[in-house]
Symmetry: C2
Subunit: 413 residues, 2 copies
DNA sequence: CTCCTTTTTTCGAGCATCAAAATAATTGCT
DNA sequence: AGCAATTATTTTGATGCTCGAAAAAAGGAG
């Protein structure tokens, strides 16, 4: 059994982590405010701040805040020391990839983008591809390169249990590959993989304060269907355990054919290709289109809005698939918000009734009520924000491990 | 935001809680072993033990352990002081109720049972009913009565968000009633409600060591269908948030009529009444039988085993409903074990193929593999064990709040 | 009766926090 | 210019918990 006991060290980490965390989301804060936000005493904050400033992690920002002058001693705000560390963030999608360099404060310094196609990874191993991107960034930013301390990636698919690669992915050529080899080139850092759906949830929550402490399911609807959930501000399903493969939940056994090869997935009804297939009365066992041009999807939404019957019906099917999916989750999680993110957000008015009635059509829906539905069209910002948040908090965490508290007290004047 | 910082008090609670927790599941332990199990130092364990013994919570068990005599100083085992506190445990089912008195060590001292019918709570308010039961126990056990410090109940249905009552319940007359009124009679203790399904999961995990750190879904199949999950030994969906209404997950929209009034719930296919209805080719929109005699269900299993086609088919439908339900959950939780508990455990051989193939028929099933399926026929033991565990650990927890560490050190001899 | 072995307790740090008091840095008033 | 008022930060001293090491306890073995 041998569980771990707490000691003075545990509590030091805890509180330092807390301080850094609060600083992350509130932005620079005076020591006094930081004490108030964290609930720690001023004395403690002084000590913690001294440590961090000593290590160069935080620094005093003494910009003359021209705001309004207040009475007493002016507050000097404490902020992250932007250039003490950098992170490399990859975003891998079905048709494009990007590699961004961000500083410790979360500001983007540089970014490289590249298109991805179904055959990209036939020619070059994914790990090599990533390593090359990383190398280009490093060459272009020689000053920052040596201070890169974290490499994280947003990916689509199912992570293996160790989190080092993908067991399945809609991005062709990615599954089964060892991705950690970026190591070879970019020093000996591990590559940390995060599911796109989960980052989306995290990022969206950061964007809307009202979601901070709520129980939220964030659903991406577009070229695929994905989802992440958070409860009282905590991501659900810790690390390797949860696989929010919402899009591939079976909606109707032996139903429409999905890109994953299964029949009846939610995605096969609600992703762009599913709606399109239904709208054009293509048999739903026909192989899904490999990619749907954005314009075509938008036009479909337009025509449904004009009342074109087939299009309207197709979106109703989509709404029903999403609604029953949420409904089924609600037997386990009591959700209060649903956020629809991605190009499908446009289509919410066409799906809303079906979503709500599907949820209401069950015991849990009747008892708990239908969650409030919000939309956020753009998905790239939340994903990036989510990835930043993960990478930076990972760095923050890693800073507590070795810190041997110097304990030098300055003499009294 | 104002999250809480840790301090020396936090760590004291943490470690004391840990010690008590370990002692709960390992049984009495020598201080040395306790130190090893908790990872705390001997010195700390001595201090903690001294505090608890001083408070009368723990005591030295000096029974002559006739085991094998070892060399050095004999270990003196530390155990719970059974009679320092008592708990009252209610179990409310559709057709019977019980009220048990257990001591702080978890041993049952007394129990009252009573039948429940569909009209029981027309005549008497549930809170009054509970209070009367409690009163009878208290009168019968005058010595223990004043030391009852916890009242907990196992219930079926959906808890309100405050956890003080039920918003819905299959037990007629229970939903919407304030249950906390037991207070009036049994001093001013709150009544703590726990979902039967979750207790079942907790109790089953305690019964099978291999499940301790695994990801498990425990499914009750019998007169209803219920479920609880645990991950690495932690219950999923903390307190008020999760509502494991697995039985009422919609399997097939507009499908078979369920007791809850919804159509298509898993329960409508997999609970005894659902299987029976299907086996006798009663239209599945016919109102469910209010109660199925145990014998009748067993006979149905027998006849399916003999190969009677309608019965076989009915159980296959049940297996499919359960399998797809699990499948759908597995889009969020990566399960490694499924335990079927209750009278339906007998029918596992009739359902197993369908359960497994339904799970395998999806992306997650293919990637993660089908969980191992176990059975445990009797459901009452795990439920009781689970309820005991909850009540006792609740008591343990409450003991840290007021403890102002006396700090009296005995003089050296 | 003395040595050995194993369990517990005692002792003397080490450290992180906290409350309260002291110190700093400004603004506002006279 | 000088002093009072005000707000931010640091210093001080105390408290409380844990830990490692050493000491004490309690039997068994020879």
């Amino acid at each position: 059994m041998a569980r771990v006991g707490s000691d003075t060290d545990t509590i030091r980490r805890q509180n330092r982590g807390l301080a850094l965390d609060v600083l992350r989301r509130s932005g620079p804060l005076a020591r006094t405010s930081l004490a108030a936000e964290t609930g720690l005493s001023h004395a403690t904050i002084t000590a913690i701040a001294a440590d961090f400033v000593g290590q160069g992690i935080l620094k005093d920002l003494d910009e003359p805040q021209s705001d309004q002058k207040s009475r007493g001693r002016p507050a000097v705000r404490l902020g992250h020391n932007r250039d003490v560390a950098y992170a490399l963030l990859f975003e891998l999608d079905v048709n494009r990839s990007s590699c961004s360099l961000i500083d410790y404060g979360g500001t983007m310094v540089d970014r490289i983008e590249a298109p991805l196609g179904p055959h990209t990874f036939d020619k070059i191993r994914p790990a090599v591809f990533l390593a090359e991107q990383a190398q280009r960034i490093r060459v272009r930013n020689p000053r920052e390169a040596p201070r890169i301390v974290n490499i994280s990636a947003s990916v689509q698919g199912i992570l293996n249990r160790a989190g080092t690669g993908l067991t399945w992915s809609p991005i062709s050529g990615l599954a089964g590959q060892a991705l950690g080899d970026v190591i070879g080139i970019a020093s000996d850092l591990p590559l940390r993989l995060y599911k796109r759906g989960r980052l989306l949830a995290e990022g969206t929550r950061l964007l809307y304060p009202q979601l901070h402490d709520a129980n939220v399911a964030t659903v991406y609807v577009g070229s695929t269907v994905a989802m992440g959930m958070s409860f009282h501000g905590r991501n659900v399903g810790l690390s390797e355990d949860a696989a929010t493969e919402f899009g591939h939940m079976v909606h109707i056994p032996d139903g429409a054919l999905c890109r994953c090869g299964t029949r009846g997935c939610i995605e096969a009804y609600a992703a762009d290709y599913g709606v399109l297939r239904a709208a054009y009365s293509v048999p739903d066992t026909a192989p899904p289109a490999p990619a749907v041009p954005y314009r075509q999807y938008v036009e479909l939404i337009q025509s449904a809005r004009r009342g074109e019957r087939n299009a309207v019906h197709a979106f109703k099917m989509a709404g029903s698939a999403i609604g029953f999916g949420i409904n089924r989750l609600m037997t386990v999680f009591d959700l209060s918000y649903i956020v629809i993110v991605g190009s499908g957000a446009e289509a919410l008015p066409l799906m809303r009734d079906e979503i709500e009635s599907s949820i209401a059509a069950s015991l849990v829906g009747r008892v708990h009520g239908v969650p409030r539905i919000l939309t956020h069209g753009d998905e790239s910002e939340p994903i990036f924000r989510g990835l930043c948040a993960k990478a930076l908090s990972e760095i923050d965490q890693s800073l507590f491990a070795p810190m041997p508290s110097t304990g030098q007290r300055p003499e009294t004047a």
